[in-house]
Symmetry: C3
Subunit: 253 residues, 3 copies
Amino acid sequence: MLRDDVERIALLTDFGVGPYVGQLHLLLASQAGDRPVVDLIHDLPPFRPDLAAYLLPALLRDLPPACLHLCVVDPGVGGRRDALLVRADRHWLIGPDNGLLTLVARGAKQRRAWRLDWRPPWLSDSFHGRDLFVPLAVRALCGEPIGAEPVDLESLAGAAWPEERAQIIYQDHYGNLMTALRAEGFSTRRRIRAGGQTLRHARTFCEVPPGEAFWYANAFGLVELAVNQGRAAEVLGLDVGDPVEVLADASGG
Amino acid sequence: MLRDDVERIALLTDFGVGPYVGQLHLLLASQAGDRPVVDLIHDLPPFRPDLAAYLLPALLRDLPPACLHLCVVDPGVGGRRDALLVRADRHWLIGPDNGLLTLVARGAKQRRAWRLDWRPPWLSDSFHGRDLFVPLAVRALCGEPIGAEPVDLESLAGAAWPEERAQIIYQDHYGNLMTALRAEGFSTRRRIRAGGQTLRHARTFCEVPPGEAFWYANAFGLVELAVNQGRAAEVLGLDVGDPVEVLADASGG
Amino acid sequence: MLRDDVERIALLTDFGVGPYVGQLHLLLASQAGDRPVVDLIHDLPPFRPDLAAYLLPALLRDLPPACLHLCVVDPGVGGRRDALLVRADRHWLIGPDNGLLTLVARGAKQRRAWRLDWRPPWLSDSFHGRDLFVPLAVRALCGEPIGAEPVDLESLAGAAWPEERAQIIYQDHYGNLMTALRAEGFSTRRRIRAGGQTLRHARTFCEVPPGEAFWYANAFGLVELAVNQGRAAEVLGLDVGDPVEVLADASGG
């Protein structure tokens, strides 16, 4: 099923720059057939599946189907958690059962999840991306058994997390700050209190004076704090994990 | 024409590390056939097409033909500018009409430019790399109409820019500083005044004592400021965008 | 021989972020057939083949065979050194004769090395990765002559280097510090003195309290200094190149 449906593989990790991502690529290049392997994101908030979980559905929203997303953000390296396979509409995902995949699954119309019981003969303590999740992905892509047991979404880690959070979940290359608030249905009259400032909405960067902080609906469908020709993270003194406050609608709504 | 001539795709952006580049890759992997997609550079000076424009011809000088270069550096996200297709000798380029492609076009022997009028049904305000330029590239590669209207190079943004500039346009990983001065024809007797120091020419790093700043002709054909076993950007206290001064030739020439 | 045996290419450099890696990719994409080209690591310690040499065998230990590893770390840009081809068990490597490949070769059961005398008609002074090593790799992959002369491993640069070193050779994205000490056979009762602290062994991060420094056997088989939920480089105030001290075994062994 997965074998016939997956045409390409994407990697989503907190591995950053360094030797870890390349190892996944080389193993997949030699074992996953001719499917292209793409780096989707490697600077997910380190060790914070509770934040990355809110970014994943946004990242995947406009991407093509038939992709297996290999996702690794682990809070305690060497800790215990199960491995999961998730079907979320047009996407497949493999990753740890620590909440990382829960919101993607929950937000999909067609969704299924399986706990994966197969384990390789040897498994390092600290590099499960290479030693567990890649082998699981390769076996799944080859149609070999991975010990998949259907599980209820309600039983996954993070099942009780809210749909949205007034919190910074990602800082991009330009210093823009993404929140876990969905832009759809979020009134443009609302103001956001963050870093001691009150931010109003603008449609684009060009609509505010240089240096002014504002919020806008980003291209992933999230509420994002930004500064025209500046770095919001520095202007507002905020970092990933910090909360923001949504003020009551200016119209009283 | 472009469809038959392009064997691979290169990405040139100021997107840096993060989720933006991966989105381009996934879309191209699913829509642009089996052509390889290569990251050529993603740390072009942010928001500065006027500087990146001088780097592009240098980067492309020794690269193989039959490549479509997808270029995105946008000064004001969400602002207005046309989309261009450029043929510059052996290379194809797609990008915004904000000067970014102008010097590559102007420096080519065989050169043509087209304004692209086709627009996708939906277009985000802030991620035209994904939502406009990738769809344009995909349609061009598939031989579908993109509303290409030939335009005169003289009408492009940046058409009045000089051929060279005594200015830092890029700082590399090692702290070396590239200028927009072409090394070819630049006398090795010339000295450059930068960061309060007067730099003489050396052919290679090994020719000067450790810690000494010098200029040399880099592998892209640009005049570059460097320090043997040191970081020129820090030694000279200079940054991208800063000017340098070319002193009169020591021989009076 | 090499032509039939190599199915993919890996890049290992100190080039970091920027335009250098992309140039290698574009040239290989156009000249090396359909073989996948993978970025294995690009933040090897800059200019330090003497440190990178100890990381390479660890990086390659668990990787699939039939790969040509193109390796570039050059101490003095523009300096003189020969080019080498190395066969180390299941791996092929091309790189400079400055010690970078010596420990990989020495650690292999089946090993051979050749000095490569072919030179391209034109060769830049400062970008031998693109202008020398890629052309050599392409010719080798095409079965064209590269002037390969068998050489004795004892004649290579770095031939006198020890098998291990009590020294930091790499800092990863999380601030963990890898040493040139092999974990296999390194008693877990041993303690390591580093940055003014005495570190004991733990099997995983979870086994020590948050903020505490320890050493463990990393997934590459090296002794690595780490801090649970912290950055060892900052906690210990150590950097790449710094020495560590292995204390006498607590049991007196």
